[in-house]
Subunit: 353 residues, 2 copies
């Protein structure tokens, strides 16, 4: 592992959990030692005999690091080398080597650094690889099987295609979230109640803006062309939206919102079909053990809890346990809860869960 | 209850859970009967002797319904009347009556209709009331105490101020989410892999776009002025962002992203301070009962689980139980898990949880 931050640290943890021996370094003082302490590395240091070298540095230095590993210097000449950067075109063009396969795990979090790392970060996540005509098929096959083993869904794309797509689903959404958050923050100076009104939708939309800002200038530079083109599309589309609102054009507004709702609901359907699931909400006290009765009851009844969440009240002394389970199991579960003195309410699960 | 959809149905459930007798009607055939079946109403029908009348209709008919209740016709002349619409200025101007207090619960969901209703929807949610110089203080006081009793944080604002603020934190974010989703859907026709790359950030940002589109044309019409002004601010700010990216202006880009990150992290700090909490991730099989051992163990150790979540793998046969608890309790909990054969990893909780 060259670079042991959030992503590098998580790769280290995931590989160690699957039996790999992982050595690693980080340019920032103390970070690799912290990675060892957290279980992300077996040992600090460059192991030049490694079979697989994962470069998880900031993107501006990645090409140089990858080239240095590929160009000898005592590194295993059979090693497969990959990276985890958010932009692939410039890197893949700069490194044209059979043993290098560009990569980009589409997992992250608003957490920062190795202290946010997790062995399970990539479970169920899409991990893009960008093989080229030069790529050695056995290097690709090795990397693909390692990533599948840590739980990722591997998708192969051309580097340029990757960059176009992430501008749309990651880079511009991030910039838009930050823009909305900064705009609200501006207005909050004048309107003190503003952020009190920021409910779930606003919080969802701006969540990514809490992530580490320092990685973005380089990402924006490397993928400037696609990002600018996508920002132009977004600004044009928002201008169309403005015209619909200003012109009271109900039909056109409804058409675009309908279309977006249909597309977003389709996006949500990775999980089990939502119409087969229900949400059972159980008010509980906010104290140790409050969860145990409902959860153990589910076990006793053979009910599989597909999802669980605790909604806290602002007062802090009570909350609601939200349990998602098969609709068919809900009536018996609610009845058993009621027998034990737990009031519950059952409702459909929304399309985007 | 006049109107028993998602919000009206949830108000009904919440009031019934606090001992109120709730009668209600809905203009759509069968909806009030469904509300009775789901426990949102005691009885279908208009109870004109009601002490409190909640109008939860689509916004375009709200003013007429409110006026009809206030203007006699056999309704209790002492009844307090409120509504739940997303725009307050035009309604409050149209209804100038001591017994009417405009309201807007800042809770919702991407769910649709009475089948998505929940008695706990308003726990911890901000509920705006817009009293005027005309409002009878005792009407306001009654409504305020009822809403506090269902768990809402009541905030009083002038109607015009409310409309300006919700344009920023709700209406324009909703339109922006729909715009992003529609844009991605456009491009997905040409680039089939696009939506596979849509990770958590994109899903978070576009989640609200899955909500019921039909309510939005009227909201946009009633709040057109503030929405257009806010869309203009957003388009200008996105244009600034484009210039930073196109001009490789790292310093300015970093400054705005830093500012947004700071503001978003501050927004997240309603819950207990995040640096006092950690996330313990426990891989579990995806089957009934897999949760019970870790959760019961927490109870035995007196560990309060602040939050719980199940992350599913794409394969569907395993998952990760994510438990959030006090950092101080984590080492003993992890050790106890290990004794029972559960491998776990502990990491810091992100700022925006």
């Amino acid at each position: 592992m060259i670079g042991t931050g959030l992503i590098g640290g998580s790769v280290g943890m995931a590989l160690r959990a699957r039996g790999w021996h992982v050595a690693g370094v980080d340019a920032a003082p103390g970070v690799a030692a912290r990675a060892v302490a957290l279980g992300a590395l077996d040992v600090e240091g460059e192991d030049r005999t490694a079979d697989l070298v994962v470069v998880a540095t900031p993107v501006r230095v990645t090409a140089g690091v990858v080239r240095a590993v590929l160009d000898g210097g005592g590194w295993n000449p059979a090693a497969v080398v990959t990276d985890v950067g958010s932009v692939k075109g410039p890197l893949v063009a700069a490194v044209d080597d059979p043993r290098f396969v560009g990569g980009h795990p589409m997992a992250g979090s608003e957490q920062v650094g190795v202290d946010g790392a997790s062995a399970e970060l990539f479970v169920g996540a899409t991990w893009v690889l960008t093989p080229t005509a030069t790529t050695d098929p056995s290097a690709y096959a090795l990397l693909r099987s390692v990533l599948a083993d840590v739980g990722a869904d591997v998708v192969a794309l051309e580097a340029a295609e990757h960059d176009t797509l992430v501008a749309v689903v990651s880079h511009v959404p991030h910039l838009a979230a930050a823009t909305l958050m900064a705009l609200a923050d501006d207005l909050a100076e004048e309107h003190r109640a503003l952020l009190q009104l920021a409910a779930g939708g606003f919080r969802d939309m701006t969540r990514v803006a809490a992530g580490q800002p320092s990685i973005w200038p380089d990402i924006c530079e490397d993928n400037a062309e696609a990002i600018v083109a996508t920002l132009d599309l977004l600004v044009t589309a928002l201008g169309d939206m403005r015209r619909r609102v200003a012109g009271r054009d109900h039909a056109s507004l409804l058409a675009v919102l309908d279309r977006a709702a249909t597309a977003r609901r389709a996006l949500g359907e990775r999980a089990p079909r939502p119409d087969e699931l229900v949400e059972v909400r159980v008010p509980v006290e906010d104290r140790p053990g409050a969860l145990a009765v409902p959860v153990v009851l589910a076990t006793e009844l053979g009910v599989n809890l597909v999802d669980l969440e605790i909604a806290h009240s602002a007062e802090g002394d009570r909350g609601v346990l939200v349990l998602v389970l098969a609709a068919a199991a809900a009536p018996a579960f609610a009845a058993a809860l009621a027998e034990r003195g737990y009031r519950s309410s059952t409702s459909a699960v929304g399309p985007s869960r």
